[in-house]
């Protein structure tokens, strides 16, 4: 193995559909045992990138390894050692939970299949429902089944594509606890999400837009890299204030959070002078550190300016 420290180590990965470049020269390194968050707006190429990692799609350009196997030539080895949870539930709705797990176990040729299936049912708390048809399960249970199925063959890398979409907060928290447990046991996890609170639970993150990687690193690094400055305002008639702020020099984003307004921009001097000009005693202005969401929206806006 070339780089034993990295579960994923790729550079220049590119995929085109027709003349549209969906994934554009992405380089990514994910350490073993790390939970790596993958964020980006709809259509930014997250799913496509993951499909290339697990050998479902062949990249048009780029090289690299996944678990030490070449992503272009050793797709069969990769498939044997990776657990992939698709964005859309993709087990058989007309099969019961146990039948689905049995099927997966047979495909991977897992030794002592019965015991493995039973163990997986017990561990994820699915044992009592094992005869229920997958199609009749609620969203949260479907997600548990999908996770159980892609862990069955003891993969060394988990690729999870929006695993918590449409799952309630409690189930999401339990899911994340499970993921942290797995990572502590040495599993590497690459996970896509649109939830900011989930992004904050990752060891490291990457932000993708228009097929390009715009930022990457730990939470603090990503926040710092955006160089975004934010003011928060509370007080009366925030709607009028928001309308006034928009388009003023230095103001790039104005977002309402309940009774608070966040005003951000990358140019600190002009933002501050705009704010100074609009300050009124009835409003309470405060400098706050930029949030992840503000950073992502800012990243996306400037990516739009640069690339399209």
């Amino acid at each position: 193995m070339s780089a034993p420290d990295f579960a994923i180590d790729v550079t220049g990965v590119t995929k085109r559909f027709g003349d549209k470049t969906v994934v554009d020269a992405i380089a990514l390194q994910v350490r073993r045992g790390e939970i790596y968050g993958f964020l980006g707006p709809n259509g930014s190429g997250k799913t496509t990138f993951i499909r290339m990692l697990c050998g479902l799609l062949t990249p048009d350009a780029g090289t690299g390894t996944c678990l030490g196997y070449d992503v272009r030539t050793q797709q069969a080895d990769i498939k044997r050692n990776v657990g992939y949870m698709t964005q859309k539930f993709s087990y058989y709705e007309d099969l019961s939970i146990r039948e689905n797990l049995d099927f997966v176990a047979r495909i991977y040729g897992i030794p002592d299949r019965r015991a493995a299936v039973q163990h997986s049912l017990d561990r994820l708390g699915l044992a009592k429902r094992s005869h229920q048809l997958a199609g009749q399960l609620s969203g949260g249970w479907k997600q548990r089944l999908a996770l159980a199925a892609c862990l069955l063959h003891s993969p060394r890398l988990l690729l999870l594509d929006e695993p918590t979409a449409g799952v309630d907060p409690k189930a999401r928290r339990e899911f994340w606890d499970e993921i942290h447990q797995l990572a502590a046991d040495g599993l590497t996890v690459l996970i896509t999400t649109h939830y900011m609170d989930e992004a904050e639970r990752c060891h490291r993150l990457a932000y993708l837009a228009y097929g390009r990687l715009l930022a990457g690193g730990s939470l603090a690094e990503v926040l710092a890299s955006a160089k975004l400055f934010t003011w928060s305002v509370t007080g009366p008639e925030l709607r009028t204030l928001a309308a006034t702020l928009l388009g003023r020099p230095g103001v790039e984003q104005v977002t309402a959070f309940g009774n608070t307004l966040h005003v951000s921009g990358r140019d600190a001097t002009s933002l501050d002078s705009t704010v100074a000009g609009l300050r009124e005693p009835r409003h309470d202005w405060k400098r706050i550190p930029a949030g992840l969401e503000d950073v992502f929206i800012s990243l996306m806006d400037c990516a739009k300016d640069n690339y399209s």
Partner: protein
Amino acid sequence: MSGLSFHRLWAVVLKEFIQMKRDRVTFGMMVGIPLMQLMMFGFAINSDPRHLPAAVHLADNGPFARTLVQALRTSDYFRVIKETESEAETQRLLQLGEVQFVVNIPVDFNRRLLRGERPTVLIEADASDPAATGPALNAVAQLANNVFNRDLPGSLAPLQAQNGPVDFRIHAHYNPENITQYNVVPGLMGVVLTMTMVVITALAITRERERGTMENLLSTPVRPFEVMVGKILPYIMVGYIQISLILVVAHFIFHVPMLGSLPLLYAVALLFIAANLAVGITFSTLAKNQLQAVQMAFFFFLPSILLSGFMFPFRGMPEWAQAIGSCLPNTHFLRIVRGILLKGNGLSEIAPQIWPLLIFLAIAMTIGVRRYRQTLD
């Protein structure tokens, strides 16, 4: 509540038209099916079949024999494709199904006719399809008597008034009692297999793609080829169960004769089942959803039932319809099943029907596998 609003109604109508326009396959079916049906029912189907292929076994070459052959040639009912002196050859043509009739003109036909001895002309008919033979047999007797009217010398004229100068005997082969079920029931085997095999495979693979389970499947170590064969095998079994079911019913309820070898039938059926499954797979790679898959299967099914010789005598259809029919696996399988069951045909007699099946299978498989691979990336 009379809350009908025309702008809302119109909105829905417009939306339906747009969706109809987008769904090319459905649109094609809506135009294609009526056209196809019109063509087939209007032209191909002929309840009074004519120009049925016949062979003449000529043991006498006298002028009256020649006149008779000439009359057969010019008649609408027959198309004499072979004139021979070998009896073995005519028998073989009948067995292979290349001719529907063999007209045997005996030795001394000329002399005995002139003597007023009413020579016997034996017409052997392949009656495995009664619809094809019935009308033609009636026609032949009439035809011959009219022909000899003008040629016979005056002294023999009285013969005309009686039973005619020639004694026509008709011998119906393979299905002497003209029992329609003998023809229809074996034919049903091909029809049922075509319908179920094509639809089921087309659905089975489209369903995986439509529900997204295909993506999951392909992310596992399972190979595309394994998926395909794994899907086909169960349906081959289903096909064999259907065949057995039809054979049991044919034997115990319709008392269809089973003269040939059933193991041979089962062996050849594998080719036919595989051909249909390959068509199903090809459709499943073309169809975007399950509905389209069913529509395509229906498109294939229609000619398979109407132009294969199942519904209407194959030889009675116009040339173009026969040409289309010859490209369909069901046409050949029908001949094989009827040949084996009703005529007791062996491998050598059904061989001419096997290679078209093989060619069809090879083409359909190639397209199916090619297209199937393309959909992965």
